[in-house]
Amino acid sequence: MAWLSENGILVGLALLDGLSYAAAVFMVAVGLNLVFGVLRVLNVAHGSLYAIGGYAAASIGLFAASLGAPPWLGLPILLAAAVLVGVALGPVIERLLLRRMQDREPVLQLLVTFALFMILEDLQKLVWGVQPVVFDAPLKWLGTVDVPFGQDAIPFTAYQLYVLPGVALATLAILACVLRYTLTGRMVVAVTVDREAARAMGIDAARVTMLTFTVGAALAALGGALAAPTVSLVPGVGASTIVLSFAVVATAGLGQIEGAAVAALLIGLGRSFAVYVAPEFEVVVPYAIMVAVLLFRPQGLFGVAETRRI
């Protein structure tokens, strides 16, 4: 316990950091999971949507600030940017590309999203350049809070303490309710479970797919927009985000919304503890967790084992 009392603040900081980090990762991973459910494609370009969401939020935010917009407007701008990116890119990508590939081999479908990733990555460099983009107005506006931790108090930004986890929790709650209790949500679940049967029941699977993809894209963009005030955006941020969300989705099990939240929390906390304890292993920890989970539960923490068909 001597170690804990000496390093209490570190543990507390790691906890808080992990929580806010997990929130952003969850937003991306849950969208990826939803999209995989209906399309059966692991969308490699999902990370690019995260990056574009972040960049768009930062540019719009900086532009609004240059026009003299009050700082509280920063938060709605983040949300608006995410919706904008999702609605602008989601239907286009789904309609023009993924829908055409639906009957092709899974390998080819995966590669289509890889091609899209390469294209979006360069487009993003052409639009926003390679210099880091920083937009931290919402972070500064909300200031810091002293979080009591034992006898100590840890100063932590209110943005990371309330906004990030708050939005993630709200997303989780809304998604869970929509999927369980609304007609549209039930249709999404139906298409996820069995596309053919759902169509036979009169569900417009194509419409459901487009809707889900758009929502997934908007969630990725929202993850990026929310993370934008806490990080500086650089090229390559999409590439590193997508592999992390892959780890979250595989750990959680495919098609699991709540599972994605738990896995994001596990991986987020694991990573932030690694940052404070053994920074060399920061990048390794998420995958170590994933490998450990898959070793004992090949279908993921919450995944349902598929019965083998003969």
Partner: protein, 310 residues
Amino acid sequence: MTRRSETLFALAGAVLILVLAYAVPWLRFVLTIALAKGLAVLGILLLLRAGQVSFGHALYLALAAYTVAFGAVLVPEALLLLPAAALLAGIVGLLIGLFVVRYREIFFGMLNLALSMVFYSVLEKFYALTHGADGIRLPPVTVLGRPLAGETGEWTVLGIALVLALACGALVRVALASPLGEALAGIKTRETRLDFMGVSPKRVLLAAYVASAVMAGFAGAIIALTTRHVTPALSYWTTSGELVFIAILGGAGSVLGPFLGAAAYELTRVYAAATFANAWQLVLGLVLLAVIVFAPGGIWGMITSRRRAA
């Protein structure tokens, strides 16, 4: 396409490579890299036959490249370093293979991805040993006691790559036509049937996996000897994606596909990088999309379908 015409194609290709390398000196470097990548893609082809996509074979590529870079300090003999690097890649492939062949499709791909990302961050973070993102310069290397440098050095590495490519190509061609190859295809169509016939799908996939690791090892060693500089980027997931990209670009139908694909890829990359310095990735992405949409059989598929039509 008969075995004889494929052999003729391969020999004609080899001659063409030598003529091009002689006529256009700067192509020597590009063609050596293309042959190396073709070797690695040959392994991807084996796994694709089983319907499995690895998004992590850059691990073996980078492992072998770093083995050459570190080993050259102790034993600066290329003809010893090359097999040693491939052997190490094979051993690591066996160990990892024992674990990953229990998984299929998305989980197989993601586990490979995760392990290669772990290796990537080890290379990047242990600065004292690996010089991080800067990478390591290769110390001078000899072939049969004579220094591997200058124009003769380039020709030597190209020759080694060409011999290895022909040998591995022939081996894979034989393997694919053997019961092992049929069993691999069986994993893709319906694995349970293999079980019923008393064939262990895991063991079949493991054999293919180890072979693919060895070939990626050869590729990594040749790349290290050609570029004389190894960096962690060799093990980043986009490098693995590139290998899968080349497999589809060249066509998964023949062992010639990987080499056609690799040559086309490297040449496109060189020209795209020269013409659109900031958007070569975008160009490659568009090429990949075009191939998937218009020529699903890849370059090899285009050649054979034209012959059939004629």
